[in-house]
Symmetry: none
Subunit: 223 residues, 2 copies
DNA sequence: ATAAATATTCACCAATTCATCACATTTTGA
DNA sequence: TCAAAATGTGATGAATTGGTGAATATTTAT
């Protein structure tokens, strides 16, 4: 099940794609233009984007350019026959595939599958990395660097950090953190979690306030 | 254990499905036609609906259309071979799956499981966000922003606000609010609730009058 | 086996939060 | 219109909560 962001200004096309992606069991969300898409991408995550080239406000090409600055995500473009053929084939943008309108929905579905298969294979070989300014967290290598400088952490700190990262921008209760990071059967002092958060924050130096305390609840990692 | 609503006009089919769903440990209820189903849905809640397409009074497609206006619930359709094949595949309706008659009960059970798994995952991954103009309430992240500016609140304010939001446009009595937000056993001063509503309103700035006082009753959050 | 690293517990502190109170204001209905 | 009832408000002290450093226990590495 993939999460799909559909970006098109034409209601008819949007509805058509949504119908079919819903049927295939994908979860999809709609953006009505490039700007809108960028806003949505700031909050939610998706596995693939299907985007029209011709759009008001911010056209498909420009939107792709902006998106690729922020995240690495496969994109399938919808183009009218002959529309900027060169640009699509030029690949300056990192488009993964394109479909010429009018298209058979079935064909689009097949292309989604194909692109995702390709991308997943590529991802497996790729490292899971998250970056914010000079802070770089490499989950695959289990390393954290700030300003090119490797930060040494204890196992629990890594576990905690990676769990935070996996659930960024989500309010996590103390219980949830304890059961997920320590194990469902852990029974411990109230201050254990605090203490590890303290250590993790210390390790994160200037980035310590990425971990926000939610009084009476737990913590939230802001990404 | 899921609660299933079976909608079919044929006694034989109803009995067959019920037998199997009972066997699987699901709780099921029967509706004999579309109208009947809508009436039942007004009173009781279910996790999934299994519905025949061909029915007197109100056919399957029309019934689905009505249901989807009211609630978001997964639906599996039963169709005779070749019956309105296009419509099912067109998916204007948001059907989650379909089974062609005659079917093996085992297959239907498997499809129920599959649909429910998909639906639960979708529900879990969804962020709970509510927006009105520049006010954005992210229940998942436990944040409130007005005009892009993060609003800092106390735990009780968040709890109260989220409870209001979950029950927006519903008159909530003081007792209800106290027992739900403070706990069923809370015994406190008359002014406690007022005071927190006051603080919450203050935090909501221009949006303070989303919380409407219902004299002699309690409050209502208008969304 | 021993030292070092890590994890947990503990005691205490500072900050926040909350319930309560006294009083102000508003609404209702006689 | 006026008094009673209901709700709003600001202040305050007590209670809760999370942060912190140090002590202690446990695990890991040498």
């Amino acid at each position: 099940m993939y999460r799909i962001l559909i970006v098109d200004d034409e209601e008819k096309i949007r509805a058509l794609i949504k119908k079919y992606t819903d049927f295939e069991g994908y979860e999809s969300k709609i953006a009505t233009n490039g700007m809108n898409a960028l806003e949505i991408l700031k909050i939610e995550t998706f596995d693939i984007i299907i985007m029209d080239i011709m759009m008001p406000e911010l056209d498909g090409f420009s939107t792709v350019k902006e998106i690729k600055k922020i995240i690495d995500i496969p994109i399938i473009m919808l183009s009218a026959r002959g529309e900027e053929y060169d640009k699509i084939h030029g690949f300056e943008l990192g488009i993964d595939d394109y479909v010429v309108k009018p298209f058979a929905p079935k064909e689009l579905m097949m292309r989604i599958e194909a692109v995702m298969n390709r991308y997943n294979k590529y991802k497996k070989e790729k490292r899971e990395i998250w970056q914010k300014d000079t802070l770089l967290i490499d989950v695959t290598a289990r390393t954290v660097t700030i300003n090119e400088k490797k930060i040494q952490m204890s196992p629990k700190e890594y576990d905690l950090l990676f769990y935070f990262l996996k659930n960024k921008n989500i309010a996590l209760t103390r219980e949830q953190l304890i059961t997920e990071v320590w194990g469902y059967d852990y029974i411990g002092d109230d201050r254990t979690l605090d203490t590890h958060v303290k250590l993790l924050r210390k390790s994160l130096e200037n980035y310590s306030d990425l971990i926000v305390t939610l009084r009476g609840v737990g913590y939230r990692f802001e990404g």
